[in-house]
């Protein structure tokens, strides 16, 4: 659509600007403020310069949490995206099955995050949980409280349970927008199922898939509540992701300086990544 140049449009954006400034810019400035200062309590602050940033960027703890988080995001993307596409391809196209599938599949998305954590914490317990009890009854030595690998598996499966539906819904929306003529043409060509997928369905889903990857990456990179409720970051530090580490530092230990420096580094990483995704996305739109 042709848009007219009109700087008075700023007035319409003003309410949003004021609100977001209040809820984003001011708090962020507080963080910046803390990140360059040191305190011994009593509201007395000293200039610390880039000390906290240097400490953070050289600390093993930060990088461990960073790589752990990156690995987590990679694993859940590798599972959720193909699984989501696969399920969306097998969804009914019309009839009573559509609303039933949509409602049931969207259900995990609307459960408060700590309840998701609680559900899985209970479900995985070896004494009273169906999953933990069942696996042990089958002779598997599963215990997410003691074993780091089991804890990781639980957190990953929980995320798959929680968020695959988002990918399914996005892909489904992309799929139903494909006109029937495409399928009929493919049918007459005798195209294989794979060819239909590769040359018709996948290109049509490209855009929604990009959004799915973007959203899932961002949200998993700042995941906090669910793993915190299930494992509390443990056993040891094995499921301590960036957000959990940050909250531990800021509110648990009240290390304001390092926590603020970490916040800024964390936010900058996310900003950089979203900029890359956003550019890719808008370029794709422009084509």
């Amino acid at each position: 659509m042709e848009k007219t140049w009109n700087n008075r449009a700023w007035f319409m954006v003003l309410p949003v600007l004021v609100l977001v400034a209040f809820s984003a810019v001011i708090p962020l400035m507080t963080v910046v403020n803390y990140s360059v200062q040191d305190t011994f309590g009593n509201n007395e602050f000293f200039w610390a310069g880039s000390e906290w940033f240097q400490e953070m960027l050289t600390s093993a703890r930060f990088w461990e949490a960073f790589w752990r988080n990156l690995a987590f995001s990679g694993i859940i993307l590798a599972i959720e995206i193909p699984l989501g596409i696969f399920i969306a391809l097998n969804m009914p196209k019309s009839g009573w099955g559509v609303p039933v599938c949509l409602v049931l599949m969207a259900l995990p998305l609307l459960i408060p995050w700590n309840v998701v954590g609680t559900i899985w914490q209970v479900f995985g317990r070896i004494d009273i949980g169906l999953l933990g009890y069942g696996l042990n009854a089958f002779g598997l030595d599963y215990n997410y409280v003691n074993d780091p690998i089991d804890a990781w598996a639980t957190v990953v499966i929980m995320d798959v349970w929680h968020w695959t539906s988002l990918v399914v819904l996005l892909c489904y929306a992309g799929l139903v927008s494909i006109p029937d003529a495409y399928y009929q043409a493919a049918k007459i060509d005798g195209a294989s199922r794979w060819a239909v997928f590769r040359y018709i369905q996948l290109p049509k889903m490209n855009r929604v898939l990009l959004i799915a990857v973007l959203l899932r990456f961002m949200d998993s990179f700042m995941i906090y509540t669910e793993p915190f409720v299930v494992t509390g970051g443990g056993p040891g530090n094995s499921t301590t992701f960036l957000s959990i580490d940050l909250v531990k530092m800021a509110i648990g230990q009240f290390d304001l300086g390092p926590a603020a420096a970490m916040s800024i580094i964390y936010f900058l990483i996310i900003l950089l990544l979203s900029w890359v995704f956003y550019t890719v996305m808008t370029n794709y739109d422009a084509e």
């Binding site: 949003v16 809820s23 507080t30 995050w113 929604v208 990179f221």
Partner: protein, 302 residues
């Protein structure tokens, strides 16, 4: 991709002219075996839904059991079904007020987010102005901001304004990610409305506010519905900020749930019942908007 479509489409036209019915019938059968019309289409969705429902079933199952039964041997259905766990929640104000608190701030946030997002989305969809693209990207980055980064500064900011433990504090804090989202969704819907409608209305002598409320808003009603739905969803499920900003008077239900960890050990039954009750509002909302969900996602604006 365009190339592939062209060949397939050309083939569609070509074979329409030279249809060989026997071959077509064979092809039809082959395709039916292969793809959409397979008799087992329900298998994959069913398996997936079973996977989704299992943990929820276990929670519901637990909520009807007594604590003795829960910690006893595994039973797949409550042996002595009891409503005692639910009775605890509905008779104790400190429990059920949590639901009221959650609903209050979620609705407040929904109203604020959509109200401020409407004019902004209109500006983004209709006009070009100084710094519009940068502004739009900056808004989006707030959707990507980790709440953990904001928890502590929010606490201090709202303390300074004396807003701690009020519903409005949580509603405003959730605007951090819901306002950008609402702008994004609404902008998508508004761009779908042709600009000629605006121009015709102005020629007919409508003032801008009157045009916006009387003509434009009904046109994007489904967009407003979708935006409100996503605001509801993300405000309802968020806990970190809601918990940080409240102590007692405005505490959300999901934070109150942690209370069941008491000196006498965990009260599993009540915990499960509270969990089940938090699923219900979400389920109701999905049921009402089920026809719009796919549409909202289709715009690719989440």
């Amino acid at each position: 991709m365009a190339e592939a479509n062209n060949t397939t489409l050309r083939a569609a036209q070509g074979s329409g002219a030279t249809a060989v019915s026997a071959q077509d019938a064979a092809l039809e059968r082959k395709m039916r075996r292969r793809g959409d019309e397979s008799r087992f289409w329900w298998l994959v969705p069913t398996l997936y839904i079973i996977f989704l429902m299992l943990p929820i079933y276990w929670l519901v199952n637990m909520s009807f059991k007594t604590n003795q039964e829960i910690i006893g041997p595994i039973t797949f259905f409550p042996v002595n079904p009891t409503l005692k766990n639910y009775a605890v929640i509905f008779s104790d104000p400190s429990w059920y007020s949590g639901y009221i608190n959650s609903i209050i701030y979620v609705v407040m946030n929904m109203v604020i987010s959509v109200a401020v997002a409407l004019p902004a989305a209109y500006a983004f969809s209709r006009y070009r102005f100084l710094g519009d693209k940068h502004l739009f990207f900056w808004l989006l980055t707030n959707r990507m901001a980790p709440p953990a980064v904001f928890a502590l500064p929010f606490f201090q900011l709202y303390s300074a304004f004396g807003l701690i433990d009020t519903h409005i504090a949580v509603a405003l804090a959730h605007c951090l990610f819901n306002v950008p989202l609402a702008v994004w969704i609404l902008e998508g819907f508004m761009s779908g409305v042709p600009k000629e409608i605006d121009e015709t209305a102005y020629i007919d002598g409508y003032s801008f506010p009157r045009f916006f409320v009387k003509i434009f808003m009904p046109l994007i009603a489904s967009g407003i519905g979708v935006a409100a739905f996503f605001c509801f969803m993300f405000s309802w499920v968020e806990l970190l900020l809601a918990r940080t900003l409240t102590t007692t008077a405005a505490k959300p239900i999901s934070a109150i749930m942690t209370r069941t960890v008491s000196a006498s050990g965990l009260d599993w039954g009540v915990l499960a019942a509270a969990g089940v009750l938090t699923i219900i509002p979400g389920a109701l909302v999905i049921w009402f908007v089920r026809n719009y969900i796919a549409k909202g996602f289709a715009l690719g604006r989440v």
